[in-house]
Symmetry: C2
Subunit: 237 residues, 2 copies
DNA sequence: CCAAAAGTGTTATGCTTACACCCATGC
DNA sequence: GCATGGGTGTAAGCATAACACTTTTGG
């Protein structure tokens, strides 16, 4: 920040206050795997272990804004589906002191995930995508957070048609099905899946086809209002 | 607190920190109304307006513990269904400064609600139950919080059999139905309702009957594991 | 015996599930 | 022409929704 003295500013309060952070669970579907972005910690505590990206909430921004800013800073990704997940605040979750973290979960389209450049942040050794089903040991309580995020993602795909958020703008129904199968971790019937997804009305044909090794597949996009529509269905959250 | 100096302790930090509070939405079913407990503010800002009960999170307690403590302090109620709702943190939601609030929602059995004594807290003028469908103007963003809490409660009753949490230990099916009708704000078919609730297996007859003006009704209680069972059904949250 | 709430079954409808074969293309 | 993934329909079972009358008690 410009115009700031070298000597650190000091803020004093009559009662102790916790720090508040946002931590992000970024999901993407890369190489047929459900992937999560993790940062390798460069400093203590948990040096060398992997953790969720995140950071402090600034005093002049809302929680949602803080999450978007972190996302922007660490990945450059802008247009991303984001929702608040849960707030974790056990007194001993960070050995350095009381830190309450508001967690968010984000679904990145494959377009975004490929385009973006990952910046781990200041004290990060490394940053990369991990297969959700083959994670390293995690710092802090981030393992629990990921469990919870996966639950929420599964619930979302079971009850809504929002799975396309993890795909590129144009995709085939088989690709969409394999997203659902990967996330829900169970095989789905092809005919039933197609009927169900198409009946929601959130998809429309683009008219293009995916040319490939075999019979070309129709490409779909989601209709602009799909996200709203799906969310408006009176289901929590 | 004993053993503390008159002169306020001072806590200093290198960066500014928000305050963190928990605010509680306490639902009860009183006199055939869905009721919420509100506190009338004794000081500025929003002096005289009504607000959700709540308070600061202590440094040595988890968020859940803070919520239970507030509940205990303000109502004396102990054995209560409690779950985290959402975290609100717009920078201007409290004119006194940055306050992030983790909200909880609680379902009080009629037993608890009647037994308890309401303590508004230090700077409260008054504290009482309000009809959820006829609320006064609310302080801060508490109106939004209540809207969200009602949504969550409705969702819960639509997808689970947890409505009995708002009733006394023993209750009739008609009483339970009227809880559902009040919360969901729509009439329900008596036969379908009974079949559906009984098929979940969370209720059992006590063998007693409610004697009254007319034909006595069988009394039910929920089987001990009902709450777990219902929550275990893989449905968010 | 009358008023008032408790209690009870059946049918139609739509949704979910299970299941197997032909089609279009690249090589 | 064959290997590969794309694409399609139907029947059975299940859950949901609509609907009206009898039962039991108190007064």
């Amino acid at each position: 920040m410009p115009n700031q003295q070298r000597q650190p500013a000091v803020y004093t309060y009559e009662y102790p206050r916790p720090s508040v952070t946002v931590d992000m669970v970024l999901f993407a579907y890369l190489e047929n795997q459900l992937s999560v972005l993790l940062i390798q910690r460069g400093g203590e505590p948990f040096k060398g272990q992997w953790a969720l990206p995140g950071g402090f909430v600034n005093m002049d921004e809302s929680l949602d804004e803080a999450a978007r800013r972190e996302l922007q800073e660490e990945t450059g990704a802008g247009n991303v589906y984001l929702e608040q997940l849960y707030t974790f605040g056990a007194p001993d979750r960070d050995p350095r002191g009381r830190v309450i973290t508001v967690t968010y979960f984000a679904l990145l389209s494959a377009d975004e995930a490929l385009r973006m450049t990952i910046h781990g942040g200041d004290d990060a050794h490394d940053a990369r995508w991990w297969n959700m089903y083959d994670l390293p040991e995690l710092a802090f309580d981030h393992g629990r957070i990921l469990d919870y995020a996966l639950q929420r993602l599964r619930w979302k795909l079971e009850w809504t048609a929002l799975g396309f958020l993890l795909l590129p703008q144009e995709f085939t129904l088989s690709e969409l099905q394999s997203v659902y199968e990967t996330v829900l971790n169970e095989p789905l019937d092809k005919r039933n899946f197609r009927r169900k997804i198409l009946s929601t009305g959130v998809l429309e044909e683009t008219g293009n086809r995916r040319e490939g090794d075999h019979r070309p597949a129709k490409l779909y996009r989601f209709s602009a209002k799909a996200v709203e529509l799906e969310q408006a269905r009176r289901r929590f959250p």
